[in-house]
């Protein structure tokens, strides 16, 4: 997957969690939690969806890598390179 496709994947998963989420003006370098109505349970949903959709088993101590949209893309790019 390309970096853009990974970004779209994350936004698509967030949209599944919260249909009302608005991405206009979303700063990719600021924490998603500060900009969207997301809590720790929602981040576990993101982890689960990555597992279900792409078989990614992310170690728990690496969950903080999903904090911002940019960090998601950076972290997932090598893992999804051949997906």
């Amino acid at each position: 997957m390309t970096r853009n496709e990974i970004k779209d994947l994350i936004l698509e998963i967030i949209k599944d969690i919260d249909e009302d989420a608005e991405f206009d003006g979303l700063d990719p370098d600021k924490p998603l939690r500060d900009q969207l109505d997301l809590d720790s349970m929602d981040f576990l949903d993101i982890v689960m969806e990555l597992r279900k959709r792409h078989g990614l088993l992310l170690p728990e101590d690496e969950y903080p890598e999903l904090a911002t949209l940019s960090s998601c893309v950076n972290y997932l790019e090598p893992k999804l390179a051949d997906k």
Binding site: D18, E19, D20, D37, M48, R51, K52
Partner: protein, 415 residues
Amino acid sequence: MSNLPNHQRIVITGVGLTSPNASNLLEFRKKLLAGQSEITTVKPRYMDPAPAGICTFDETRYRKKKENKRGTRAGCISVYCANEAINDANIDFSEYDRAKTGVYIGLTEHGSVETENEVYNISNFDYNTDYWTHHHNPRTVLNNPAGEVTMNLGITGPHYSVGAACAAGNAAIIQGVQMLRLGEVDLALCGGISECVGSFGIFASFKAQGALAEHEDPKKASRPFDRDRNGIVISEGGCIYVLERLDKALERGATIYAEIAGYAMNSDAKDFVLPYGPRQAECVELALERAGMQPQDVTIINTHATGTKQGDVEECKALRQVFSDCPDTYINNTKSHIGHAMGAAGVLELAGNLPSFTDNMVHPTINLDNLDPACALPNIVANLPKQLDNVDVILNNSFGMLGINSVVIVSKYRK
């Protein structure tokens, strides 16, 4: 009239509900008087379609889609009913403290829907439990529906579920009354909820028991007391009442639907599923005694009868025993309209009858084409509503598996 002091008299001042034919009391009453069933069919997972009652309330009136997705169907129904009840009672929490408000929700069962969904989910991943959702526990803890209400309304008093099979709605009312009388809370939101149309296991279990209704027209499938009845129509639904002490209700000028005049619960101590008329009769007699009433004082008996062969007959035996000499007592059944809403049944059915105190009508039992001789009680109001001169007292039966019986008696409020 009650002999209790006003601070021990408990009254209903708000009703919030969703049933398979209505999303508020006014609409519900209108449909019941018109005999308008909206029972449809659902296709439970792995099974053929079956008659069922589905609610179509505005799910996002009181919380966001995201919160509905996070929570359970039972929680969604509870939040709707609780908000409707609070609004109906004109409670804005300026006169009541959220910390002294209790939420008591009656449930027949809870967690079947979520568990079945998750087992189905992991079946798509070779039953690897790494794919089991982290939402499972918060969704299936037994206090879930009541807890979702407290989070939505910011209520910080106690909340819990009352598990009492299909007597649970009545049991939750009783819990609310007791907590108010004990002074544990000043305001009680209590009622019952059911999400069970989402569980194939509940349909399959009734079917295996020979107790799942079948009819080519789903609207005619729920037919208590009828010779051709063949089982239960499973429905979802919910009803939550605002209960408060009479002195406070009068002080704030609340509209009073009814006063809780008496109640009782007991146990058959006999069988897992089969009901037992003699113990039901004892429960009715105990409730009357506590209300300080004679059987002749009851204007309307709202029956529990679910449309099963034996259950209906047992309840009729109990009523025949207690109300043998009551020519002015009328009998009806709400499940014939809305199916069996399990944990919500008792409270929904009582709600459907509360307007009788103002319109003096008895809503009919519908689908009663050929009265079963074993159910031939006098004064069953069949197929058309009955106009009376006055309705003073309503007795509400609600019984459940494992032999749990409950009776709540409400009376028209009089000073």
